[in-house]
Subunit: 386 residues, 2 copies
């Protein structure tokens, strides 16, 4: 199997944007072409990660629109949807296209336009991914998060404050991310005093509704240096995808995300490394509790000890294993189809030394993108090229 490199990347400003998803995709796509130093018509496969352009704005066929706008015709195009982990699934599809030898230059652009809808409407579109047996009881992803957070705190004797510290950390990181939706620090009291959403989780435990887009350019590792200098590309050394039960209440232990365990096991094996080898990670902190669960299920910390790592600063930017140097979904925002792509964008920036004030020392990075409430997960491991 051919190893696959990433030779260019971009993301738009995340936040409330006065542009439709077609326009956001084109903005990120053009910037990534420029970053890789290629033209649209060099692209052989063009994937779009997007969950719900039809539901959000009555526009489908967005890969066709993007191919048109980037002058990438007659590239093969498709939309990859895996709900909130569409971006990670798109990385998987793009990787696969190059690994198979079906495409030499593949572009992935993820995006979503959401803020023109009310939070209730957007939450309901997202909740449509749940099983009807749960949906009809009014279950949404935030409600699952509240229930799980309560169970986690009780089971592992973790203080409520530890969840708040995830938000504080990620907001602090986001200040240095020019693309982030929120570039402001928040203190712990602000988080703990914010309005209750799903007990024990409060407003600042949740990511916002966001518009935005991010893009990546892939090619075989063997030719990457023909496009950009060594050091300016990164290599996907391991990638895995896995699915958990559709009905969340059927899971034996709701504090373990099976999809994270299974997808990372595949990715670690392909990369020939273990969790201790990872230098920097982007996790799917749609809710603060999810950062704990993933940091444990990826093997970074023992089960029930993820909260301590945050308390002790291990996951701070200057800690032993910086997590969410981008600001995470929490401060950067969560435009569904873009988020998994933007995670890989951040790891790419870190591994190529282009993360500016967010830069940490890292040779190996990991991105974990979670769809639904752990329903579908893609874990991507990347290495620096020098």
């Amino acid at each position: 199997m051919e190893r696959v490199a990433i030779i260019g990347a971009s993301m738009t400003r995340f936040g409330q944007r006065d542009a439709w998803v077609r326009e956001l995709l084109a903005e990120a796509g053009e910037a990534a072409l420029s970053d890789a130093g290629i033209d649209g018509d060099d692209v052989e496969h063009l994937y779009v990660s997007n969950m719900a352009s039809g539901e959000f704005e009555g526009q489908t066929g967005v890969p066709n629109a993007l191919a048109h706008d980037l002058d990438a015709l007659p590239a093969y195009t498709a939309r990859i949807d895996q709900t909130s982990s569409s971006g990670g699934a798109g990385v998987y599809a793009a990787w696969q296209s190059v690994a198979a030898g079906a495409s030499e230059l593949t572009m992935l652009v993820g995006g979503e336009k959401m803020t023109h809808r009310t939070t209730a409407e957007a939450t309901d579109v997202i909740a449509s991914l749940t099983h009807p047996v749960e949906y009809k009881h009014g279950v949404t992803l935030p409600s699952f998060a509240g229930l799980t957070a309560r169970l986690y705190l009780d089971t592992y004797d973790a203080p409520r404050e530890s969840l708040g510290k995830v938000a504080v950390k990620n907001h602090r990181n986001g200040v240095d991310n020019p693309h982030a939706q929120f570039r402001k620090e928040v203190d712990l009291d602000t988080v703990l005093d914010s309005p209750m959403v799903a007990d024990p989780l409060r407003l600042y435990d949740f990511c916002p509704i966001t518009d935005g887009s991010a893009a990546l350019v892939f090619c075989p590792e063997s030719v990457a240096a023909e496009y950009v200098p060594e050091g300016e590309y990164a290599v996907i050394s391991g990638i895995g995808g896995a699915t958990d039960t559709h009905v969340v209440h059927e899971r034996a232990d709701p504090t373990t995300m099976g999809g994270v365990v299974d997808s990372s096991t595949i990715a670690y094996e392909m990369a020939g490394i273990g969790p201790d080898d990872v230098d920097v990670a982007e996790l799917h902190d749609m809710f603060t509790i999810l950062e704990f669960l993933q940091s444990e299920d990826l093997g970074f910390f023992e089960k029930g000890k993820g909260w301590k790592a945050v308390e002790e600063g291990v996951t701070d930017r200057d800690g032993e294993l910086p997590i969410n140097t981008s600001g995470g979904l929490k401060s950067k925002g969560h435009p569904l189809g873009a988020s998994g792509v933007a995670q890989v964008y951040e790891i790419y920036q870190q591994l190529t030394g282009n993360a500016g004030p967010r830069q940490v020392e890292a040779d190996i990075g990991l991105a974990c993108n979670v769809g639904g409430f752990g329903n579908c997960v893609t874990t991507t491991i990347m290495e620096a090229s020098q």
Copy 2:
């Protein structure tokens, strides 16, 4: 690149079904597992081809639901959308997963549930794939078809009756397809006297709105005989995907489908064959005029001569190049995400000698799945295994 075999296939009855898309997908998926003699948990990658489960029935995350229902956890899952050619794009994704070595056993299930919506509603969901500059003028795919049919008849001096003969032929084939929505012959007068829809096209020039699902199981050719006897599998010898302009009026010649030309060029080259080598083909006859265009753009007939081939019986079941032995979208129905999968199902049945009363002599078959009005196209070429 590893060659990829198809070792199992199924399709549900197409038509008006009292079942949601989740249920239709599971019905086809279970039957295909059984046909291949494998269990759900043997499946490593599970793809779902579907355009619009969210818009049609407020249910997203259907690959997760299907993995759950087939006991295929923790298989990697994703939804592949390429509008009306989602099925062909799904075949491409499934092929790629095996060709890349990322999955040994991959399942693809395509499906759509549409008939609970009015024809106007369904047509509008489909029209959401058009460019806003055209959509706002009320353009739908049927209206493009009418304009193109008029241009074709005028340019190539073809009689109106030739279009009707596509419908007559495909309905005749559909009588022998137990899965088809319409199993009745229609005579030419019935077609020509049916209600006008988009001049010169009338009701019988259009495929219906349909519910249904179809499924395929893929593995490397090198291990196919471990699952099913030689002769009972078929091999994908060539596959290509291509995209045309999003704005249809920007095409130089609307009677040529660039995506069909480009995707088939790639597929023929990969297969090492030419159009004359094809023994049987399934084309995307969403509208009768499309069968003419594709039969020419695939190189079966000279430009402007496709209508003559139909008039002369060349594409009849007992003709030199049988086209749409399944009954085509015209009589079989067109559940968007299922159609491209069902095309490959039919070719698979023909190449393995399991097409029953529809059986023709064929060693090489081709399926051409068209999204939008030629916006996105996947062409798949298959060979018999003995």
